[in-house]
């Protein structure tokens, strides 16, 4: 019997690569089982159990959302997402990043104002000094 080559990859690394008899997974359309010489298929996985038969032994791993591809040459590639949890809070984090940038801009704005204020103060002091000098020499 022909075997399937099952590869499970995540964004970070290859998680699994093995020869199997069959692969069962939960897709968005329902559970499917892939055997050798399956028609080329491209589908989306739901969070769930991925079962595969290696010889007589059945193994099972839990996968998050992802994609499953069956290639014409008896190759099954499963792309899983390791960052599902982070995705939920990412919008909030992005907003925080924008807020942090605004804070930075404000601080540098304040600093710039401070520097400008200091410069004008210095100029004023200098003008007073010059005026005083002129005043004394004029008298």
């Amino acid at each position: 019997m022909q075997k399937l080559k099952l590869t499970v990859v995540s964004q970070e690394k290859k998680l699994l690569e093995t020869e199997v008899e069959s692969v069962s997974a939960v897709t968005t359309q329902g559970e499917i089982t892939v055997l050798a010489r399956h028609i080329p298929l491209f589908t989306q996985l739901q969070t769930g159990e991925l079962r595969y038969l290696e010889g007589d032994k059945e193994h099972s791993i839990v996968v998050s959302e992802g994609f499953l591809t069956v290639n014409p040459n008896n190759e099954v590639i499963v792309m899983v997402d390791t960052a599902t949890l982070a995705r939920d809070i990412s919008v909030k984090q992005a907003e925080e990043a924008i807020a942090a940038a605004k804070e930075t801009m404000k601080i540098s704005e304040d600093r710039r104002e401070l520097i400008l204020a200091e410069a004008s103060l210095k100029r004023a002091m200098l003008e007073i000094k010059v005026a005083q000098k002129r005043g004394t020499s004029g008298v």
């Binding site: 964004q11 290859k14 028609i39 994609f67 982070a86 930075t104 710039r112």
Partner: protein, 294 residues
Amino acid sequence: MPNTRQIVQRIKTAGNISKITKAMEMVSASKMRRAQASALATRPYTEALNSSLQSLAEASSITVHPLLTQHEEGFDVAVIISTDKGLCGSLNPSLFKETIAWLKHHKEGKVVAVGKKAVAFARLAGIELYAQFTDLPDQVSPSDTISISTLIKEGFLDKEFRSVSLIYMDFVSTLVQKVHVQQVLPLPKIETSEAALVDKLNEAEYIFEPNADAILNNLLPYYLENSVYQAFLEARASEHSARMVSMKNASENAGELMSDLRLVYNKSRQASITSELLDVVTALLAQDQKEATH
């Protein structure tokens, strides 16, 4: 001639500095190896993603996806991926030089700063920051970069951004890192390679469930996230190798300084011995002369 004790002090200082830089070199070397390994480990996913996109590109009306289409509204955004810590040679300055060049071409452009160094630079140069990300972990994982890809994706889809580019250090080798400006949004057109076409001709058509467009809609964000994540891995590998090399140089310089100082120290020691001897000899001679005259 400087004081002998001062020279001894300086030799000690140089020695201490070289000890520290040596340790930092070692730390960076191990971090660099890890960063390089993780950059390689992502390859299977990228390959799977690219081949999926190629299959999808033919089966769907790919040109209509909003992430792929150009629009005129909004401003351009550059994401500078710098470091949180310094002491990594010319890495950050070259990034900033490139950023200034980018801003010249994109007058209305805004900057998303990643890393404390980029934030400090933007403040100093008076560049308008759109967002800032600091204190990302040393070993970046996809979860750490997702907030950045979400930010640019949402901004682009809301037509707030016209385009998004990443500016980061591309890792070429331990000694060579190059500034790289990569446009990530709108996503570059997915080109179907000839090998894939041949595959298509020989083999049966793919079945897409639920359908090609729906899958593409869900897959493209992953593609964007993956590009951002890859850029981060490159940037991290570059950071650590740049730091390793600059620390190595610093250790070597400290060694040179120490040997120079040792030479000065020996010279001054010999000089002091000579002058002491001279004192003794002149004293003796003077006494001899005194006795002879008496």
